[in-house]
Symmetry: C3
Subunit: 307 residues, 3 copies
């Protein structure tokens, strides 16, 4: 039985197969509308995450399946001191597959080790959020037609941004991907990414402090939030925050076929005036998130696919 | 695409069509049992409202559809600072139609302006709660066979009662509806209703302070709660509260074919001894609420109806 | 219309029929997969209980039915002062059957008295939790092939353990069931069980203080939690707690065909090293809980069974 703990659990060929399936689902949703009739997904969310939970639920429903679960730890047996391992063994009696969100790193892994049903890590603390990465990859591949030969800008909080780290680790497996890392000094990518992922693999990358300096070269711009709390002092924050807000003016410097992604929720790092630009792809990305989760559920459940 | 923000969004002929559909659903529920197979309703409840949420969910399920969503803001992305506009754009990827409850007036309207799916206002602060009004209209029409030529008593807190204001605005569009407004002095209907809705349209109405004075004339008695906090002083409350409690004795003064409605939940303004009286229609009203929401979902989704 | 308030609501022949149905469901789940298509279960949980709620939801989904409800009182109309009687009358408009969990003893009974749909008590305070008892009975019968002629050990907190009391009351109706009651002095079974249930019916029973003294004789060992707070003093707790922890060593004294049950959640009263022992049946028990709830829903809804 397969689980999904990290985006790297899937080899590049496996990933291609998954993304192909997701693209076919996008084109022919009806073909898949009853592939999971009588299957049940458990959404075990030990911390709230509406977007991710609803995306999983929509994915399962689109396949004809049913959903049960909980949306916060208060209403779970965790409050009574039950271990995640025990919970998943019981939930195995109720569902065919499980998506687990947990504030503690590694909790889904612990669950997967004793589970009788496939477990999908739907986010474990600051650690992994693999279905976000799969969503990002499907979005890029769908919009650009490829995952190699691209220049991708990653902008904002690159130090703590889990989705950014995972995306870099996933993309270095493709050929000729160039990274432009756009962040304040305080929020640069951690050295393990710089040294062990980028340098060790001889990946071309650039670190810059201002979005407008970087934007003209990019094929993809991946925006993330810069939280005020992350700065050492108010002064730095005030001086720099506008560097990381994408507005029409900065966007005017970009290529016509550059696409803007964002894991959402957005606060103010993308100005709403950008929403109507055809390059704004962050809401489409949410739609790709459903397709890729549908493909993932079908794959982990080893459902025989319709031809 | 149509949304429903206020009961007045529907013209009288549109409303008739909707109520006709609801009545047909009541008579032939099986005919509609699969009209929304593979459709999904999102219930976005930024404040809890079990009754309204469950009524929407039951409505969608009765049509064969599926439901996803959240039942309080804690478990939503609102906590992360996401705007309602962004949330609805994402939810548009997950569902085909949405019912939104929000503590802030106008939030569903904001959502509807950017949404790719129909948005139903399921209550926005003290502002509107249009599906309650549709429920009330269907109940009256079903029980009395008409919406014109009726004398309706509205009893209780007429000042703050959102459902009362909406019902008045909806009913003045029909011929020969006479209103008897039964409330303490402090809780009389607001002047905009008295002047701009009733007087301006030459609608016959009466304001009285005691339920038993009004009840003999009524075709419909619409009860609402009188909350103690609304009174200026304890003395007034004690003196008057019994005026607004419907019991067997007061009901003995009413016509045999007068029906009692209440938006529920009830606290003590209708004595439980009244529940078994055939004129007590407030639980039937909850059933009509499901039928009218079914009709509304079918209408907004523009589902081709079975013949 | 039938409700289920207590396991004793079912006569022994009715119980046999229910367990037979549950066993047939276990063997032929597909046969029942659409017996409740278009039926809706309401899960009204006024206090959280993930396991019980999900078990009911899985049961209904396995029958093809749909589920709606709430998982804590915060998000229910109870917060607005509505009585349970009013709530169930409204919910009767939304669902075909209801499972209610409530912190107050008797609340489901009150609901059942005015309900238009079958009500299942899913736990009311310290009072009853009949579907747990049905689960226990199905598990024992499935594993041992019988409910009579068994020696069952009940271990842990026998004073406050609701499930233990119910199980004893249910089992005394069978022939030649012998009870071994294993608990610290402070947590012995209440005298109404000892006198009115056991002694009055001439049931053979033994009270012992140490699990290892009792274990060799047992056909079934029913473990429960011993909460530290239940002890009069720290000293007693430290001295005795290990008596009530089942580990491999104690298990080595047991028969090869003795099965271990536990209502779950477990904290540390069963060592995880026991989980892989074929006699550990507590996770299977969760699966039986789904089957018996499926059988119960079918029975109370009086669904015509497939042949």
């Amino acid at each position: 039985m397969r689980h999904l703990m990290s985006p790297l659990d899937l080899s590049v060929p496996e990933l291609e197969k998954l993304l192909d399936l997701a693209s076919d689902i996008e084109k022919n949703p009806k073909k898949y509308a009853h592939t999971c009739d009588d299957k049940r997904l458990a959404t075990l969310f030990y911390e709230p995450s509406t977007r991710t939970r609803l995306s999983f639920e929509a994915a399962m429903m689109n396949l004809g399946g049913k959903v049960l679960g909980f949306s916060s730890a208060d209403s779970s047996s965790a409050a009574k001191g039950e271990t995640v391992a025990d919970t998943i063994r019981v939930v195995s009696c109720y569902a065919d597959i499980c998506a687990m969100r947990h504030p503690k790193e590694g909790a889904p892994l612990v669950a997967s080790m004793v589970s009788n049903i496939p477990v999908i890590n739907a986010g474990d603390g600051g650690h992994q959020h693999p279905t976000q990465t799969l969503t990002d990859l499907l979005t890029i591949r769908s919009l650009k037609g490829r995952l190699d030969n691209i220049t991708i800008g990653l902008c904002g909080d690159l130090k703590f941004g889990r989705t950014v780290h995972s995306l870099i680790e996933a993309l270095v497996r493709y050929n000729n991907v160039k990274f432009v890392l756009i962040s304040p000094e305080e929020l640069r990518i951690p050295s393990y990414i710089r040294e062990d992922v980028l340098k060790k693999n001889n990946i071309e990358f650039l670190e810059v402090e201002r979005l407008e300096d970087a934007i003209p070269e990019l094929d993809i711009l991946y925006m993330t939030r810069v939280q005020k709390e992350r700065f050492f002092n108010e002064e730095d924050y005030v001086r720099m925050k506008d560097f990381y807000i994408l507005d029409k003016q900065k966007l005017s410097l970009a290529k016509d076929d550059m696409y803007i992604l964002h894991p959402l929720p957005r606060v103010n790092e993308i100005s709403v005036e950008v929403d109507s630009d055809p390059r704004a792809a962050y809401f489409k990305q949410a739609q790709y998130g459903v397709y890729v989760r549908m493909a993932l559920i079908l794959t982990l459940l080893e459902v025989e696919l319709p031809c």
